[in-house]
Amino acid sequence: MATVTFDNATRLYPGTEKPAVDKLDLEIADGEFLVLVGPSGCGKSTSLRMLAGLEDVNSGRILIGDRDVTDVPPKDRDIAMVFQNYALYPHMSVAENMGFALKIAGIAKEERAQRVREAAKLLDLEDYLDRKPKALSGGQRQRVAMGRAIVRNPQVFLMDEPLSNLDAKLRVQTRTQIASLTRRLGVTTVYVTHDQVEAMTMGDRVAVLKDGILQQVDSPRNLYDTPANIFVAGFIGSPAMNLLELPVADGGVQFGGTVYPVPRDVLGSAHGSTVMLGVRPEDLEQAPDGQGLAVEIDVVEELGADAYVYGHTEVNGSRHDITGRVDGRTPPKAGTTVYVRPKQDHVHLFDTQTGLRLGGNAPAAPHASLADLDRPLEADKA
C-alpha cells in the first residue's frame, strides 16, 4: 500500500503548445479511492497513464510512496492496471486463470495457491476455483479478471474506464463490487471515468479536470455542495445545476421579480455588475405569481415520488433552460407558466469574469490524507 503524489506533473505532447496535463498537483492518501473525472480531452486518462509510466512526464515528478517513479519503467512501478485484458482462458481453471501471471513472475507454487485462495475468498469465488470459465456467469468472470490484479498485491490499482464495455445492469453491479472490494483490500486506487455519476458514487474523493487543469478535488458531498467554480458546478450533478447570469441589485441578486439576498461582502468581491447564480433543480421552489422567474414548462418527467420539470425562461432578452425537481404528486403541467425562486441558502454564486466561487467554502486544492479532510488546505494557507 502507498500514497501517490503528482508533484507539478506536466505532459506536453510533441508539436503542441498547450499541455495535455498542466502542473498537476495531487496527493492521494494510502488506501484512498480517487476518481479522475472530466469531459473528453480533459487529461484524466493522460494523468493515469503518467502514473502508469505510459506517458513521459515533461516536468514535475510522480511518487508512489516515497519513491520517485517518474523515470521508472511501468512494470517496475508495482501497479496493476485492472481489466487491461479480461479474456479468460478456456482450458485453465478459475484458479489458474487468476494465478498464471504469478507463475510468469516466478512466484512459488505454495504462495501462488495461497494468494489465489485469499483473492477468491474476497471475491466470493472459493467454490469455483476448480471450474472452467465456461461454467461461470458474466459477473463471476468479471470477478476472476479482478482476481488477476488482486493476486499481484500491487501498491496501486489503476483503472481506466473499466466498466465502459459492460451493459448497464452489470455496470452498476460491478461498480459497487469494485468500490467495496478495493476498500476492503485497502489498496490505493486511481479510477478514471467520464461519467460523473460513477465518479460520485465510487470515489472517496473526486478530482475534476478540464483542459489539463485540475479544477477541484474533494469529497463527492463537498463537490456537490460547494463547487469551486462554474465548470465544476455545471459538470457535477444530474440533471445539471441551473446557471444564470444575473444583475447585482441592492442587497442581493435580481432574480426575476425578487431580489435574492446576498451579504454585501460577498457581492463586493465580484468583478462587474453581474454574477453567475447557480441553483440545483431540487433547490428551486415555486414562488407566488409575479415573484421570482417566470418559467414556461416544456416537459414534465414523472419519476413517482418526484418529477423533473424542464422549462425555459428569459433573462435580459436571452432564453435559458431551467430544470426543477418537484413533488411527484403535484407537478405543474406542460405549457403552463410558473414562478420559481431558490430556496434560502441554497444558491451558488460565481464571479462571471473569473468563474470562481464567491463567498468561500470551496476547497480547491489537494488533501494530504483522508483523515485531514477538515484541515486547512495548503493552497489556502498560501
Binding site: Y13, A52, P74, M92, N165
Partner: protein
C-alpha cells in the same frame, strides 16, 4: 488522448434508399438502424440485425473457430466473403472502426473494418448492442489453428517473430496496442514464415510518437498474454509438453528489441568507414524495410559520423515485386519470388532490362504454375504461397534425384505429392463440414499431418 471518432462522419441513413427485396418481418426493426460504413454493401442489410448475435440462425453463420474474446463474436457470410461481427458498446465499436481505418491508411497489416451498426432492436423493441463488422482475412489462420500435436517447434518461433515484427510496425507508426496477444492477431503463411495481422484494436490508440514506457508496457502485455495463451493450450493438451510457455513468450521481447534497435538506433563511426551507411541500408532491406530518411550528422571536427534511420517503411521486397510484376504478395513471398526472378534473369538473359525480364518470368514461371493448379485445389493456399512451395519442391526433388527437374514436372509432382494432401485453408471458413473446421471448433487439432512450413 481520448478516443476521437467524431472526426469522420461517414454515417448515412440507408434505410429506404437501397433496394431490399424479400425482407419481410425484419423491415420494421430495420427502420432505426444506423450504419456507419465506408462501403455501401447493401447485402449488409439482409443480415438479421434484429436478433442478438448469440441467437443468429445457422444459415447466416460461417463455421470458423471462435477465438478467446470478452465479447460475443460470430462469423457470417456476406457477398461471397466472410465477415466477423462483434457485439460491443457503441463507443468501443466506433473507436475501433476508426482506429482500424487509420491503421489501414498507414499501411499496417490489420483486418479491414466494414461497418458499425447501432440502433439495433428486437422485433419486440428491446435494445440490442451495437456491432463492429470487419472483413475476415482470406487465407489467414488463428494461432490455435497453427498449433497441433505435430507442431514443429520452429513454427512457434516463427509465429512469435511475426508477432514481434507486427508490434514493431505498429509502434513505428505510433500505435499503442494495449492488448497484444496471439488471440488478437491473425497469421498468413508467408513463404515459410508468417505474416501477422492485427485483429483487435479496441484498446489501441494512435500517438504522434510512443514513449519508451508505452512500448515497454505493450511488450510486457505481450509476454504475459502469450505465456497465458500457451499455458492454456498446454492445459488443453493442444501442444506438446515440451513447449515452455515462459521461454517462448520471452522470445518476443528479444525478437522485438533486436528489430527495434536495428531500425531506430544511432550508430557512430569514423569518417573513413562510410561503407557502413550502405551496410546499414542493406541490413534494413534484408529485414524487409526501406529507409525513407536517414539522419546523418558529423562531429564538429568532422572525424565522426552519426547515423540514425528516421523514417523506415516495411515492405521492401513487396514494393520491388509490385514495381516489376504488379504482383501484390506478402513480404517473404516477395523475397522468395524475387530470388527466383533474379535467378531466371541470370540464367536466361542477364543483359535484358530488369522490367522486361520480370515480365517474361511472370509469363513463363508464375502464371503457368498458378494455372496448373486444378480448380478443386485452388482453395488450399494462396497463389503466391503455392508458387513459393512449388519452387521449394522443385529444388528438393532436383537435389534428391540429382538432376534439374523441369518446372512442369515439378508442378505436377507438387500437386500430387503435397498440395492434394493439405487441408483447405481458404475454405476453413467456407465449408462448415470441413474436417479442419470441425477440429478447430473442438479446439483439438490432433492427428493432422500438416506440412506447415514446407
Amino acid at each position: 488522448m481520448d478516443a476521437n471518432w467524431h472526426n469522420e462522419p461517414t454515417d448515412f441513413g440507408q434505410v429506404g434508399k437501397l433496394p431490399r427485396p424479400h425482407n419481410g418481418g425484419a423491415a420494421t426493426v430495420l427502420g432505426s438502424l444506423n450504419i456507419t460504413s465506408a462501403t455501401t454493401d447493401e447485402s449488409l442489410l439482409d443480415l438479421p440485425w434484429h436478433i442478438a448475435l448469440e441467437e443468429w440462425p445457422a444459415k447466416n453463420l460461417a463455421a470458423l473457430p471462435r477465438g478467446i474474446s470478452r465479447h460475443i463474436v460470430r462469423f457470417a457470410h456476406l457477398s461471397g466473403s466472410v465477415i466477423a461481427i462483434k457485439e460491443t458498446s457503441e463507443h468501443i465499436a466506433r473507436h475501433e472502426y476508426h482506429m482500424l481505418r487509420k491503421l489501414q491508411r498507414l499501411d499496417v497489416p490489420c483486418v479491414e473494418p466494414v461497418a458499425v451498426i447501432s440502433g439495433r432492436h428486437t422485433t419486440d423493441g428491446a435494445e440490442l448492442d451495437p456491432v463492429l463488422v470487419t472483413r475476415h482475412l482470406k487465407f489467414s489462420l488463428p494461432y490455435r489453428a497453427l498449433f497441433s500435436q505435430t507442431l514443429r517447434r520452429d513454427t512457434l518461433t516463427r509465429l512469435i517473430d511475426a508477432q514481434a515484427l507486427l508490434l514493431v510496425r505498429l509502434h513505428l507508426v505510433g500505435f499503442y496496442w494495449g492488448d497484444v496477444s496471439l488471440s488478437n492477431t491473425l497469421f498468413r503463411r508467408d513463404a515459410g514464415a508468417f505474416a501477422a495481422y492485427l485483429v483487435d484494436a479496441e484498446t489501441g490508440e494512435l500517438y504522434p510518437k510512443l514513449s519508451n514506457g508505452q512500448r515497454e508496457y505493450d511488450l510486457e502485455i505481450a509476454r504475459v498474454n502469450i505465456a497465458g495463451e500457451l499455458m492454456d493450450l498446454l492445459e488443453g493438451g493442444l501442444i506438446e509438453d515440451k513447449v515452455d510457455p515462459l521461454a517462448t513468450s520471452e522470445r518476443i521481447m528479444d525478437s522485438y528489441r533486436k528489430l527495434w534497435a536495428e531500425l531506430t538506433e544511432k550508430e557512430s563511426f569514423e569518417l573513413g568507414d562510410r561503407w557502413r551507411v550502405n551496410a546499414r541500408i542493406r541490413r534494413l532491406n534484408d529485414l524487409g524495410f526501406d529507409v525513407e530518411e536517414f539522419s546523418i550528422k558529423t562531429t564538429p571536427d568532422g572525424s565522426q559520423i552519426q547515423l540514425q534511420p528516421k523514417v523506415v517503411d516495411a515492405g521492401h521486397h513487396q514494393r520491388r515485386l509490385i514495381r516489376l510484376t504488379g504482383l501484390d504478395v506478402q513480404e517473404n513471398q516477395a523475397r522468395r519470388l524475387l530470388n527466383d526472378l533474379d535467378g531466371y534473369r541470370a540464367d536466361n538473359n542477364p543483359d535484358l532490362d530488369e522490367e522486361i525480364s520480370a515480365h517474361a518470368w511472370v509469363r513463363h514461371v508464375f502464371e503457368p504454375v498458378v494455372r496448373a493448379i486444378p480448380r478443386e485445389l485452388a482453395g488450399k493456399l494462396e497463389p503466391a504461397e503455392v508458387v513459393h512451395q512449388v519452387l521449394e519442391h522443385r529444388w528438393y526433388i532436383s537435389e534428391s534425384q540429382r538432376r534439374n527437374v523441369p518446372l512442369a514436372e515439378a508442378v505436377q509432382a507438387y500437386i500430387d505429392d503435397v498440395l492434394r494432401h493439405r487441408r483447405d485453408e481458404a475454405a476453413i471458413l467456407l465449408n462448415p463440414d470441413d474436417k479442419t473446421a470441425r477440429l478447430l471448433a473442438e479446439n483439438s487439432l490432433d492427428n493432422e499431418n500438416d506440412n506447415d512450413d514446407e
